[in-house]
């Protein structure tokens, strides 16, 4: 049993196709259709991941990476206006991202926990793509000419993260929000985006970015931890909002989330979690894009049991009859 790290997507796929390896994880998404076609030689196993990919933003009065079209700082932070946030969500064509970038391996969503998980809301649908409506909303919010923004993100953490960021930049620019892209390796990115946590690294109480792409996997199977981490206000002593790097705060969401945490009755807790999610996400605390679909590709003659937590274990692979 040999584990061979091959970081280059293309090389990894080539190794499988040449028979040098038996199974690979994260086959490059552009090649999924072709792999599926060659069903005599290869099998693609897939499973929807618990990891949601989303856009998060920061709500300070002055944002370093949000500027007017002339390059000057704006009197108010447009990201604080829920209409602007909604416009940003409507401008994203999630289906196009799924089809053209992810090779079909994505589940566009408006939720932060995957379907079937405890806390998933049927009422929350992914925002439909509507560029005209987005422009309308921007106009209503007082930004008929749009504004400028820099979108940050990691380039080696999530599936096609770099490409998704570039695509979102493209889509936002089309509705008037001129977007620049800056990506970096994950350790640098997460250090910089987390720096807003004043208590772990004092002196750095200013988060570096204004708008960024990130991901969250609900490993616990239920939404309590997710809602607390992403939607509740940042409060290190209480231990809440540890992934709320944009410092979104909504008193109603906080109240409901806190109540949910102490509610033992499952049904009641479920309702509370759904409620908290719906309030926060309708307010666009963050903009979910999709759930990743994890793929593995292996040669025919094997059988692989895919895992929701994205791990690859040797014992998940067996010989097919």
């Amino acid at each position: 049993m040999v584990f061979r790290p091959i970081t280059q997507d293309a090389s990894r796929l080539a190794a499988l196709m040449n028979g040098e390896v038996d199974i690979i994880d994260y086959p490059p998404t552009p090649d999924l259709p072709r792999l599926r076609q060659q069903s005599a030689r290869f099998t693609v196993s897939e499973i929807a991941s618990d990891r949601v990919i989303y856009i998060q933003m920061s709500f300070r009065d002055q944002e370093p990476f949000v500027r007017g079209n002339d390059g000057q700082p704006l009197p108010i932070n447009p990201l604080r206006d829920p209409r602007v946030r909604q416009a940003m969500s409507l401008a994203i064509n999630r289906d196009a991202i799924r089809d053209r970038l992810m090779g079909g391996a994505a589940l566009p969503t408006g939720n932060i926990v995957p379907p079937g998980f405890f806390g998933f809301s049927e009422a929350l649908r992914p925002d439909p793509f509507n560029a005209d409506r987005a422009r309308q909303l921007l106009q209503q919010a007082g930004f008929p000419q749009g504004f400028r923004v820099t979108l940050h993100g990691p380039n080696n953490r999530y599936i096609n993260d770099q490409q998704i960021i570039e695509a979102v930049a493209q889509m936002w620019t089309r509705v008037g929000i001129q977007t620049e892209v800056q990506t970096m390796p994950r350790n640098i990115f997460f250090t910089d985006v987390i720096r807003g946590d004043a208590l772990t690294i004092p002196g750095f109480d200013v988060g570096k970015f204004s708008v960024w792409l990130s991901g969250w996997g609900t490993a616990t199977g239920e939404a309590t931890y997710t809602v607390r981490g992403l939607l509740e206000s940042f409060n290190p002593e209480a231990g809440s909002g540890n992934a709320n790097w944009g410092r979104y705060t909504n008193a109603r969401v906080d109240a409901i989330s806190r109540r949910a945490r102490v509610t033992l009755d499952s049904n009641q807790r479920l309702q509370l979690l759904i409620q908290a999610s719906e309030i926060g996400l309708r307010d666009h605390a963050l903009i979910p894009i999709h759930f990743q679909v994890n793929n593995w590709a292996h040669r025919a003659g094997l059988r692989h049991q895919p895992r929701v937590n994205e791990r690859t274990y040797a014992w998940d692979v067996t010989r097919a009859r």
Binding site: P30, L101, M171, T173, R174, T183
Partner: protein
């Protein structure tokens, strides 16, 4: 100055006798024109995100966009027209290559001249530094510099200048030493002509041929090095891709049969570098008849 004019004309005629070199000159001329006129002749502005549509991504050469525009060389993963991206990418490559080459030439020439004129301990010290610099592999120097300086077009130019200046310094110093010993320099000095005047009217023109040859080769390798750095991810931003980055991005699509994303930018890069090298070769042959075969 008619003597010099006549000399240049004779050189040009000699140059034109090799058909390969003339062809290279034409190719380079075309590339320069394309790069300069890129905003006017490109079907699309590949740096303007408004003009890109992800629905058009990975279209093969010859296909059309939803809007009807023809993608002569296909599109990349973001829907960028490859032909336009090549035009703009050539622009960046040539700018970076020529600018860094020119700056390195200026810097290196000054250092070389100073070393030759000063002589003695200063000359020794400078040449030690030049030797040290020349012994270091360019790619490593550039990598470390970019790690320290960060990304961006200006940082790359700085890195390339630092990589190249030593070649010019050594060349100019060599020529200057030879020329300094010549009779006419002796004569000029005995006439008490001002040093700078001697430099500009006598020394520099004699350095020109060698500088020209070294310069062309340097520009070619600067362009190649910039593309390599971009390929490794240490270059210009992702939304203004240079040729190296285009090729790097294209790699991931190559396996699924979308070969055009990597192949065409590479051919453009190859044509540029090769034409410059052929011209440089011919210049060397013409200007140093002793070495010609």
């Amino acid at each position: 100055m008619s003597g010099t004019e006549g000399r240049w004309r004779a050189l040009a005629q000699e140059f034109a006798r090799a058909r390969g070199a003339v062809a290279a000159l034409l190719v380079l001329g075309l590339i320069l024109f394309v790069a300069a006129a890129a905003p006017l002749i490109s079907p699309q502005d590949p740096y303007d995100l408004r003009q890109l549509d992800i629905m058009d991504n990975l279209q093969p050469p010859g296909s059309r966009a939803f809007s009807g525009m023809l993608f002569m060389l296909g599109t990349d993963g973001q829907g960028r027209d490859i032909l336009s991206a090549i035009f703009y990418g050539l622009r960046t490559s040539l700018l970076v290559g020529v600018l860094s080459g020119t700056l390195a030439l200026l810097l290196g020439s000054v250092v070389g001249l100073v070393a030759a004129q000063a002589g003695g301990a200063l000359d020794s010290l400078i040449m030690r530094i030049v030797d040290l610099q020349l012994g270091l592999p360019p790619i490593l120097v550039a990598l470390v510099l970019l790690v320290v300086l960060g990304n961006g077009a200006d940082k790359i130019i700085v890195a390339l200048v630092i990589v190249q200046w030593a070649f010019f310094a050594r060349t100019v110093r060599g020529v200057a030493l030879v020329e300094n010993a010549r009779d006419y320099m002796e004569a000029a000095r005995s006439l008490r002509l001002p040093r700078l005047r001697i430099l500009f009217t006598h020394l520099l023109p004699n350095c020109m041929p060698t500088l020209l040859v070294v310069g062309t080769v340097q520009v070619a390798s600067a362009i190649s090095l910039e593309a390599t750095l971009s390929f490794l991810g240490l270059g210009l931003p992702a939304t203004e891709p240079s040729l190296g980055l285009l090729i790097a991005n294209g790699f991931r699509y190559m396996m699924s049969g979308n070969w055009w994303v990597s192949v065409f930018p590479g051919l453009a890069l190859l044509a540029t570098i090769m034409s410059i090298n052929v011209i440089g070769d011919r210049l060397r042959d013409v200007l140093n008849p002793r070495l010609r075969h």
